[in-house]
């Protein structure tokens, strides 16, 4: 029978899902949000947290060994850099972008008052100065003089105000939640009761003042890291309550950033050209092309010199070895800002006992699973935070080393004793866990056999199923599950709703008053040292209480042709931010 088109469709899921394997089959990226101003932080590329590796560096920077191996195709390209990525969706507007790959293009085309630094904190970009009032409810931004959009029109704070209006519009359907920024008068604008936002005061062309009703630790970023769109360009098409005209310009963006868009061929490439009126000076490299690559072709394209750089190459021992063997590639291995975990349904009596949860962590050989999947490029974690975050702590954190005996003991204490068949039993109920895993996840391949074996020795039966990613998420939202495996991204700021009672992202039914209290306090505190102490206590509590089985944090890899210098990349700072500094070595 002829293979039909839909036959192929299904066959390819492998490829499609593989790309998003850990974030779970989708490409959403998180807008960076973190506390600003402070510079207390850890360096990110020092390799200070080295896991179970023996000789080789498993984190940090590996420099190209022999540039003479560089293929001619790349070496001869003197004014152009070609970057391999997954294809963007063509949403070249910071308001509506959803995938990381659209973010990349927008980072290069647009600018904001403040921008992220390698350590995850923020520094002034378009802003000359940011003043925050004592009570934290008034922000004054001073725009640098002489900033122009790439068409030569000078930028004023009116453009900023205009962009704010677009965000507050009722028809805004992007990823941000602008009404939660608590700007005075935003709701009235949103509901159409007013044609201006009363909390925004334009003092002069370079000064704007924003008044808030409430603040959180995230406010400086929400207001300051908003990309500024030119009113004279986007404003023509905009009427309050209808953003369709603005969306029509998604493929013809105009900003003030390092680069401007020359052409976009869907699924193929995005061609950018340096912006000569960029406020930091014309970028060194004239042309930058973002070229679509796939998991299978990224490596050969780099090898043949068809690309100069590959973003998001999966970190396996094979890939690292192959890249090293090429000789002309610089490799950056950075901790991925996210983690994998196994969720419990806390509404089930068997999981509401903390001893049972602890036993299930002790009784699982997490190290072996992580090693089996990521080799030296992933490590077991015990708090839900990246080891390079300023909020990270390992003080008084129980590592939960694999210990079947201890696990058995804890289960005994919890009343789950072994019956005659060697199974755990309590009040006539046999300990059996229905486990849902996302299909086509490399971790699940290693997790299921190891977990089944480990828990069998404890006397617990695992009944595993694999499901489409969205089906698992659906179960998670509706609470129709016992245990599932998933992975997700971390925001740069430790504030989130994952472990707070009835939190938006808390699908586990987990509730711990102490955690709630500390999270609330952390969100309302602006001083970073105070916040550190608060989150340390919070993570210690989570570590003891085991809301989920934390599994691993893995590495990300960026491979760059050695002829390029000047990228400033970190887990918090994506490569496009430093494009303007990049130089091609001759």
């Amino acid at each position: 029978m002829r293979k039909k088109w839909w036959g192929f469709i299904i066959l390819t899921l492998s490829f499609a899902l593989m790309l998003g394997a850990c974030s779970g089959g989708n490409n959403s990226a998180m807008p960076p949000t973190t506390n600003s101003g402070e510079n207390a932080n850890t360096p990110t590329e020092s390799g200070e947290t080295s896991p179970e590796s023996d000789t080789e560096a498993t984190e940090g920077f590996i420099e190209a060994a022999d540039m003479s191996l560089n293929p001619l195709a790349a070496a001869n390209r003197t004014d152009t850099v070609i970057i391999g990525t997954t294809d963007p969706k063509g949403v070249f507007n910071p308001l509506f972008m959803e995938t990381s790959y659209d973010y990349y293009i927008n980072y290069a085309i647009f600018d904001s008052f403040i921008e992220v630094q390698a350590d995850g904190t923020y520094t002034n970009s378009l802003a000359e100065k940011v003043d925050i009032s004592e009570d934290g409810l008034k922000y004054t931004y001073h725009l640098k003089p002489g900033v122009t959009f790439s068409d030569g029109t000078p930028m004023t704070v009116k453009d900023y105000y205009f962009t704010l209006k677009l965000y507050m519009d009722a028809s805004y359907d992007g990823q941000s939640d602008p009404l939660s920024w608590h700007i005075v008068g935003a709701n009235e604008y949103n509901e159409g009761k007013s044609s201006e936002i009363s909390g925004v005061k334009i003092i002069d062309d370079h000064t704007v003042e924003i008044s808030l009703t409430e603040y959180t630790a995230l406010t400086p970023v929400e207001l300051g890291n908003m990309y500024v769109l030119p009113e004279h360009y986007y404003g023509k098409e905009y009427k309050q309550g209808n953003l369709d005209g603005v969306k029509k310009l998604n493929n013809k963006p105009l900003g003030s950033g390092q680069y401007k868009l020359v052409s976009y061929s869907p699924g193929q490439e995005v061609v950018l050209e340096s912006n000569e009126s960029y406020f930091r000076g014309t970028p060194n490299v004239k042309n930058v092309i973002f070229r679509t690559t796939s998991e299978t072709t990224s490596m050969p394209m780099l090898q043949q010199g068809e690309t100069d750089m590959q973003d998001g190459m999966s970190v396996t021992e094979d890939n690292v070895e192959a890249l090293k063997a090429m000789g002309f590639v610089d490799i950056s291995l950075l901790p991925n800002n996210g983690y994998g975990y196994i969720a419990f349904n806390h509404k089930l009596p068997k999981f509401s006992d903390v001893k049972v949860r602890q036993a299930l962590v002790y009784g699982l050989n997490r190290k072996e699973i992580v090693q089996g999947v990521y080799g030296p490029y992933g490590n077991v974690i015990n708090i839900p935070q990246s080891n390079v975050s300023w909020a990270y702590t390992d003080e008084n954190i129980e590592p939960y080393e694999f210990d079947l005996e201890k696990a058995g003991q804890l289960l005994d204490e919890a009343g789950w004793t072994l019956n005659s068949k060697g199974l755990r039993e309590k009040d006539g109920e046999v300990f059996k866990i229905n486990f849902s895993a996302t299909a086509d996840n490399p971790v699940v391949d290693a997790l299921l056999p190891i977990m089944t074996q480990n828990y069998k020795e404890l006397g617990i039966e695992i009944v595993a199923e694999t499901l489409d990613f969205n089906a698992v998420m659906d179960k998670s939202n509706t609470g129709e599950y016992e245990m599932y495996f998933a992975a997700w991204g971390l925001t740069p700021d430790p504030d989130n709703t994952v472990y707070i009672t009835n939190g938006s992202q808390n699908d586990y039914g987990y509730s711990n008053p102490k955690v709630d209290e500390l999270m609330d306090k952390g969100k309302k505190t602006l001083d970073i040292e105070e916040r550190k102490a608060i989150y340390k206590e919070m993570y210690q509590e989570l570590n003891k209480d085991v809301p989920v089985i934390l599994m691993y944090q893995r590495k990300n890899m960026v491979a760059v042709n050695g002829r390029l210098d000047g990228f400033d990349i970190s887990p918090y700072k994506d490569f496009p931010f430093s494009l303007y500094q990049v130089k091609i070595a001759q």
């Binding site: 036959g7 890939n319 299909a439 699940v444 290693a446 056999p449 089906a471």
Partner: protein
């Protein structure tokens, strides 16, 4: 053009009047066909190895050993080990249980539904044809991927035991792939029923069922056999793609398609051929064996073949 077509005389009514039943003749002929018998024997051996072989293996499904991962074939592991240090030979045999069943069951369903509906539509034409063909159209237009995702979710909600879900899947694969065969068979029958030998069956006053199953369908056997052979291989590969929807086998249980798909990068492709050659060869051998059997069947069922 018309001249050639009218000279076309196919099967005669002879088969309806000879003493020995055509099916018995077919069996006799088949058992004399060495190639076909060879194919059958290969297939039986494949089944035996896959279903009995694992009992003789020193390893079991849940074994893993990270120290001996990605090792080439050796005395301990005849076909080498995979990325978790699991024995490839055992995995290929276990995979065969699933893949052989999927291939055979899905194909059988395809052939039964597609052949029957196609024959009925082609024979009765008019409204019957219209109705059946419109149903076929609808089935062909359905997006299988979302349907399969729903099926996975429904089976999970109904708490169907995960290891048995693969059996439902075999049926679904069959249910989603009979349409093209139905159209092929119908097309053949539309031409066949206009030929002289059908006039003869008319004259003999044979029942419709007899006309369809004894005279028309046997003439479409060649095309059905081609379709069936091709469908075995594609169902085996199709299953592997469904695992990505969580619908196929659940790890660590392997299938041939999954074993190959696991090695889908240039590095494994070049450096570790033992990962993909064994399952690839198994699919190839199965396909060839089924094809040999199919060719034998066709010859056995063809009344004009004199042996």
């Amino acid at each position: 053009m018309a001249t050639e077509v009218t000279t076309m005389t196919r099967q005669t009514v002879s088969s309806a009047t000879v003493s020995e039943s055509p099916w018995r003749i077919a069996i006799r002929r088949f058992s004399r066909n060495k190639l076909a018998l060879g194919g059958l024997i290969i297939l039986i051996i494949m089944f035996l190895i896959c279903f009995i072989g694992p009992f003789f293996s020193p390893y079991n499904l849940y074994d893993y050993s990270l120290v001996s991962k990605n090792k080439p074939p050796s005395a301990a592991h005849w076909l080498g080990t995979d990325k978790l240090g699991r024995d490839i030979l055992l995995r290929v045999m276990l995979a065969g249980r699933i893949s052989l069943l999927v291939g055979v069951v899905a194909t059988a369903i395809t052939v039964i539904i597609g052949g029957t509906l196609g024959a009925i539509a082609g024979f009765y034409r008019k409204q019957v044809d219209s109705v059946i063909m419109r149903i076929t159209d609808i089935f062909m237009s359905l997006p299988s991927l979302p349907i399969l995702i729903i099926l996975g979710a429904v089976m999970s909600d109904l708490k169907v035991p995960p290891p048995t879900r693969i059996y439902y899947l075999m049926f679904i694969i069959g249910l989603l792939s009979w349409t093209s065969l139905a159209r092929l068979v119908r097309g053949q029958i539309l031409t066949l029923r206009e030929q002289e030998f059908m006039l003869a069956t008319e004259a003999l006053g044979l029942k419709d069922r007899r006309k369809i199953f004894r005279h028309l369908l046997p003439n479409t056997v060649p095309i059905i056999i081609v379709a069936a052979t091709l469908s075995v291989a594609s169902a085996i590969l199709y299953e592997s793609s469904l695992s990505f929807l969580g619908l196929g086998v659940i790890p660590p249980t392997p299938s041939w398609g999954n074993l190959i798909a696991d090695a889908n990068n240039l590095i494994d492709f070049r450096k570790r051929p033992w990962l993909w050659i064994p399952p690839g060869v198994c699919i190839l051998v199965t396909t060839v064996a089924i094809n040999l059997i199919g060719d034998g069947l066709r010859d056995a069922l063809d009344p004009k073949m004199k042996r």
